[in-house]
Amino acid sequence: MSETDEVLLTMSGIVKTFPGVRALDGVDLEVRPGEVHCLLGQNGAGKSTLIKVLAGAHQPDEGVITWHGQPTTLGSPVAALRLGVATMYQELDLVAGLSVAENIFLGHEPSRFGFSQRRSARNQARDLMRRLGHPEIPPGREVGLLSAAGQQLVSMARALVHDARLIVMDEPTAALASDEVDNLFRVVEDLTDDGVAVVYISHRLDEIRRVGDRVTVLKDGRTVASGLPADTPTADLVNLMSGRMVETVFPLREVTTVDEENEVLRVAGLSRASEFQDVSFTVRAGEIVGIAGLVGAGRSEVLETVYGARKSDAGVVTVNGKRLKPGSVMAAVAAGIGLAPEERKSQGLLLDQSVADNVTLASLPEYSRAGFTDRARELRDSRATLERLDLRPADPRRIVRTLSGGNQQKAVVARWLVRDCKVLLLDEPTRGVDVGARAELYRLIHELAAAGVAVVLVSSEVPEVLGLSDRVLVMREGRLLTEAPASELTEATILDMVMEGSEVMA
């Protein structure tokens, strides 16, 4: 074998910028045939962007990609597929109402004279499922009726039908139970035995040790280590990933904002089947409590359950000593809780309506007399709140859709400020917000705490949780692992806990 044959794909010096963000800033990656190459990195390290470049969905601004030693471009998703690169996204892109075979051949059904060759498609689908070790999945079965693992197999079969030589798997185990994980790993082994290369993205180090051959670590859009053996000690990997360049300066905080005497929110034994179990914590007035953990660890679910948007199976939420009715947003709002939800646009805002309409949405009874809205007061209070939040221009009549991400987030927060909320639940408040606006949101969160609001902050960015919070809760797989003052934790200890699940740090 000549040397070029040993390397399937190389990427070198890949740069990709988006307005205001340098998402990839010189990434190198080298994948050999038949290996499982793991990509490791914190949220925002550039993994998703890199996957999209590999899938042909994003075009890099700079850098060279070679395939079997030949320079190439991945100009479009179709071009990438043709070359032999298939991508399995985290959210499976399957059509639930179509059969297994129809999904596998979606977009390129075998046909003759324009008539689809259903039998041929089914036979090929059956062969593929057999190759993946699951002959029991019938090609005619509706995909929506399959388990998460079954759907993943269909997605993989779809990659194979294109004769992919490289399959990118983005957190493939996130939705799987443990026996299904074993299954997946068996399939991955079979594939690699056939010489197929796998780029495997996961936050779970134990998995990486089990299936991985080599590891590439990304940080701040750069490759900080490549081709490490998969059994590199945890401490080394975590050290490589942490110490992210923090673009934003976290504002200094007067330590005195916490009112020790005044416990506002108490959550005790909160559980929801298959989401999270036995979560208990308290938040005092003026305190910021951060919840760290991986996506899918149950953080957002906890927030939404505290807020009543999901109904708890067990446990109690009390605000200022008063017990909340479970599963009632109205009760939570009346008690003074506010939520800035994870999906700002789909869960938080009326995009085609004015800022004022959005700001007063949770306080309509307060802004009306006998059912008639008091428009003048709405506009006045909205404007005052926008000024307080430094949202410029402070025009309450503006349509929310025309605002930037940071300002839309401020509009959501403004909704709770006009009603003097006591507890503010912030779910990924800086997602999709540019660096400058981030700093402002951080300052705002501190100001709110200083004004006596009890803040609960969920963020996938570990430095953000550490930089803002007084106390940090760490969640993994639906359970609270640790609770500690932020000053006693470091980025590395938190990363180690969420990824490894151990409370001991080497």
Partner: protein
């Protein structure tokens, strides 16, 4: 944007407000512009149609009696369209309005009801409309039946019940007092037209000046955001359909007055006419946006078209073709304005 200070330019939205020049050449904020251009075009179309009608029948078309006839014909469908506007803005649809009008008109004119006098007849029609609408609403919000299916079921069964109650007979109104009042004039203007005006005015105030209206927009614009803001989305949805039903009860009063009878064939195709009027008026079928003024003009456009066709003895089939063309033209216009707004 001169009020921008240098310290953190990132929070200020760099892109200027999407300023557009519409067909009228006006430059406004998106919302203002949308309303203006669309309304201007709608009014323009209405005026143009009146001009056409006048040219074809210069003596009669704009005569007081023709206008009065036109408006009286428009009154019932106009009231139904007010309710329909609420439903569509809330993100739903109501296919059963015509059947609810039929049912209310039959129920209020049965001999059993009529013996209690005009007042009870009125209450009966309103209660039947409200009740049927409430059934729609509860099925949709608490029963989680999609609006299309729930109101399709009501569409079939309400008319069926009307046929059953009336034995498919036309029930003549014997209560002269009822006819005298509703067929009469007030200050020289027919009571039916007053009713349309009052329902429209109340509808406008409720939609634009009350928390009920605000919630209707919120539920239609983003039901999940409304729920997470503590709005009782289910209850509100049920109420919106109840309002539509109540409007059908009022429309039944008007139809009965105009035809001096109740029949299970009343209100045929009202759902289509009402939806068409609402859509022409610029209300989005996807919910969250719309105006009652647009709906009113939509109703009037259809009325004028009807009048032109009847006055010139043209067949109803041609009339229907014309209606279809108007609907498509209106929706295309709407789509292009939105596309321009989003880019």
């Amino acid at each position: 944007m001169s009020d921008v200070s240098e310290k953190s330019p990132s929070t200020v939205d760099e892109q200027p407000e999407p300023v557009q020049t519409g067909p009228t050449g006006g430059v406004r904020t998106p919302s203002g512009l949308r309303l203006d251009v669309r309304l201007t075009i709608l009014i323009g179309v209405l005026v143009a149609l009146c001009v056409v009608g006048y040219i074809l029948n210069p003596e009669t078309f704009l005569g007081e009696s023709n206008i009065s006839i036109m408006l009286r014909l428009a009154s019932a469908i106009g009231v139904v369209s007010v309710g329909m506007t609420f439903v569509i803005i809330s993100g739903g649809i109501d296919l059963s309005v015509g059947s609810m009008v039929a049912l209310a008109s039959v129920w209020m004119t049965t001999l059993a009801t009529q013996q209690y006098g005009p007042f009870v007849m009125v209450i009966c029609a309103l209660a039947v409309g409200l009740g049927a609408g409430l059934i729609n609403g509860v099925l949709i919000s608490y029963g989680k039946v999609v609006p299309f299916i729930a109101t399709l079921a009501m569409y079939a069964s309400a008319r069926g019940l009307a046929e059953r109650l009336s034995g498919r007979q036309t029930q003549v109104v014997r209560e002269q007092g009822y006819l005298d009042f509703f067929r009469g004039d007030f200050l020289g203007i027919p009571v039916l037209i007053w009713m349309l005006a009052v329902v429209f005015a109340i509808g406008w105030v409720v939609l634009n000046r009350t928390t009920f209206g605000r919630r209707t927009f919120a539920v239609g614009g983003n039901a999940e955001a409304a729920r997470l803001a503590g709005i009782n989305v289910k209850w509100h949805t049920a109420m919106v359909y109840a309002v539509a039903g109540l409007c059908c009860g009022i429309a039944a009063l008007m139809v009965v007055a105009r035809t001096t009878s109740g029949a299970s064939t009343n209100g045929m195709f009202y759902e289509l006419d009402a939806i068409a009027a609402v859509v022409i008026g610029g209300t989005l079928l996807s919910g969250g946006r719309g105006t009652l003024i647009g709906t009113l003009i939509g109703v009037l456009i259809f009325t004028v078209v009807n009048s032109i066709f009847t006055q010139n003895n043209l067949e109803t089939d041609i009339q229907n073709i014309a209606k279809g063309v108007i609907i498509v033209a209106a929706v295309l216009l709407q789509a292009t304005t939105i596309r321009r707004r989003r880019t």
